[in-house]
């Protein structure tokens, strides 16, 4: 199912938590929702799941507004603080949610079992929820979100508190689900976004500041290419001097704490690899290393959200 968000706005008092944002997510897409604390990620998710009313704008799922109560059955939602009925045993809780979501009585037991297995809850399934560790609670939260096999998953920081093994499994699971479903997840773990999401949306102070794949974000963020090279030559100063004079090179800097390494930034849309190679051949220098340097997602994120 496709989610379409148009000019969505939400205010708390006179603070605009979400300020006229628009985007679309399609079936088979995993959207990573990024933004600093208080950017409005959770607020947006609460409106999609219709826990919060929409002040202005519209959210539609396959053309129908989420204001219709019956749209909620298509959505599986993990809220950010993962509230749970503390005094219920895990298995009873999952049964309760399954019933509430209208899972067929015949399939109910199987569904609960599947979720227990999928989320690694088998050893804990008879414990009360308030006896669980944080990570297990989070797994219960994930299990309840997916129990009715919804077409849309809204996951607010799904991997917080999970151990590294479980994180890998859950990311894998989200990737797999993402092939056939529509997934929106928020996170503060940037490598996670690259590992699981097809597309990234960054919001800051309620406004969208970036929307695209990790690759397109990198391109638009830096534009120019950065190369790291290691050249063995009698005089490093001469190397630096000559490289600076090559056409297309914008900036050359020595890499601190590493001998013979230079960082070379080219002008926008200029490729200087070949020129450097030829220079070395001409001068009889040994080029032992040449790696394109990727702008880190962290840097892009900081650039977009720190002003």
């Amino acid at each position: 199912m496709n989610i379409r968000i148009e000019n969505l706005t939400k205010s708390y008092g006179d603070q605009k938590a979400v300020d006229s944002i628009s985007f679309e997510v399609k079936t088979g897409e995993v959207l990573g929702f990024l933004g600093p604390n208080g950017a409005g990620k959770s607020t947006t998710m609460k409106m999609i799941t219709h826990y919060l009313n929409i002040d202005a704008g519209n959210i539609t799922i396959d053309g129908r507004s989420v204001r219709n109560t019956d749209m909620k059955k298509h959505i599986g939602y993990l809220p950010e603080h993962n509230p749970l009925y503390e005094d219920m045993p895990v298995i009873d809780y999952l049964r309760f949610v399954a019933e509430l979501q209208g899972v067929d009585a015949v399939k109910l037991d199987d569904r609960v079992k599947d979720m227990v297995r999928l989320c690694g809850l088998n050893d804990e399934k008879h414990k009360k929820i308030n006896e669980l560790s944080k990570g297990y609670r989070q797994r219960v939260g994930l299990a309840q979100a997916m129990i009715h096999d919804p077409e849309i998953l809204i996951l607010d920081e799904p991997t917080t508190g999970l151990d590294p093994n479980q994180i890998v499994e859950i990311r894998e699971l989200i990737r797999t689900l993402g092939n056939s479903k529509t997934v929106i997840l928020s996170t503060h773990i940037l490598p996670e976004v690259e590992a699981t999401c097809d597309r990234i949306l960054i919001i800051n102070k309620g406004k969208i500041v970036a929307d695209g794949t990790a690759e397109t974000l990198r391109k638009t963020a830096s534009g120019s290419q950065v190369l790291r090279v290691k050249i063995q030559a009698p005089s490093q100063d001469e190397v630096k001097e000559s490289v600076s004079q090559l056409a297309g090179v914008a900036l050359v800097e020595k890499v601190e704490g590493s001998e013979n390494r230079l960082e070379i930034q080219s002008h926008v849309d200029q490729n200087v690899n070949e020129a450097i190679f030829r220079l070395c051949v001409d001068k009889n220098w040994v080029l032992t290393e040449m790696v394109p340097f990727e702008t880190k997602l962290e840097d892009i994120f900081r650039d977009l959200t720190m002003n």
Partner: protein, 242 residues
């Protein structure tokens, strides 16, 4: 079909949570203890002292016990859900605000019915003691059920206003006191249509006539109105979270 279903699932969970905690048992035991003591043992006023085979005393005491008992049942219904954040969980499931509020109401109502069911032995044994008016007794039970329903409406509303159970409890008592006394006092202290209005609002007279065996549709409408108003206002308050 779907509507009643979600309501029922929520009520069922609420009831079982209730019986999994000590609260339910403490409340049941104190309800039965109080009503039993005054019906059978208290000395002046009990069945033996008055030498009358009826449950008048029981109905009067039950009214007062329920007055405290029901706010203790209803205080957690919405307040706790809001405090712990689980309300977000419920309302993002395939459940409407109304279904949730109705489910909560239903759970408290069933709880009261269970408590009242435990008093059936009083009825059975007193009716053996002599000339017994079954009609009046049934009408008395109907009165208790209607009264409870109204108290639950009030308690539910109080619980929707806060996320603190104690506040919800005290607020429900306060509203209860208005209906039990204050409106009556105001009715006596005023004249004309104002007196009439407060008299209509006062709960005591409506309950008295039913528990005496007189079922008047006006009284029934009175209790049901409070119930519906309570449910409706709770739903309204919950929908205002947004």
């Amino acid at each position: 079909m779907k509507t009643s279903n979600a309501t029922w699932i929520i009520a069922k969970r609420e009831l079982s949570a209730f019986f999994n905690s000590l609260v339910a048992y403490i409340l049941l035991i104190s309800f039965l203890g109080f009503t039993g003591f005054f019906t059978w043992l208290s000395g002046n006023g009990d069945v033996f002292f008055r030498k009358q085979a009826d449950l008048k005393v029981f109905f009067m005491i039950a009214n007062w016990t329920l007055f405290f008992f029901i706010p203790a049942v209803t205080m957690r219904l919405l307040a706790e859900e809001k405090r712990s954040g689980t309300i977000e969980l419920l309302l993002t499931k395939n459940v409407s605000d109304r279904q949730m509020v109705l489910g909560k109401y239903l759970s408290a109502f069933l709880m009261v019915l269970i408590a009242l069911a435990f008093t059936i032995p009083y009825y059975l044994s007193v009716s053996q003691l002599g000339n017994f008016d079954h009609g009046a007794t049934l009408s008395g039970y109907l009165g208790l059920i209607l009264l409870s329903s109204a108290y639950i409406g009030i308690g539910l509303f109080a619980s929707s206003l806060t996320n603190n159970q104690i506040v919800a409890f005290l607020l429900a008592l306060l509203l209860g006191i208005c209906f039990q006394f204050i409106f009556g006092v105001l009715a006596n202290g005023s004249t004309g249509w104002i007196s009439e209005l407060f008299n209509t609002l006062s709960l005591t007279s409506h309950f008295d006539s039913i528990s005496r065996g007189v079922i008047d549709s006006k009284d029934v409408v009175y209790f049901l109105s409070i119930t519906f108003l309570g449910i409706f206002l709770s739903e309204y308050i919950i929908s205002k979270r947004k």
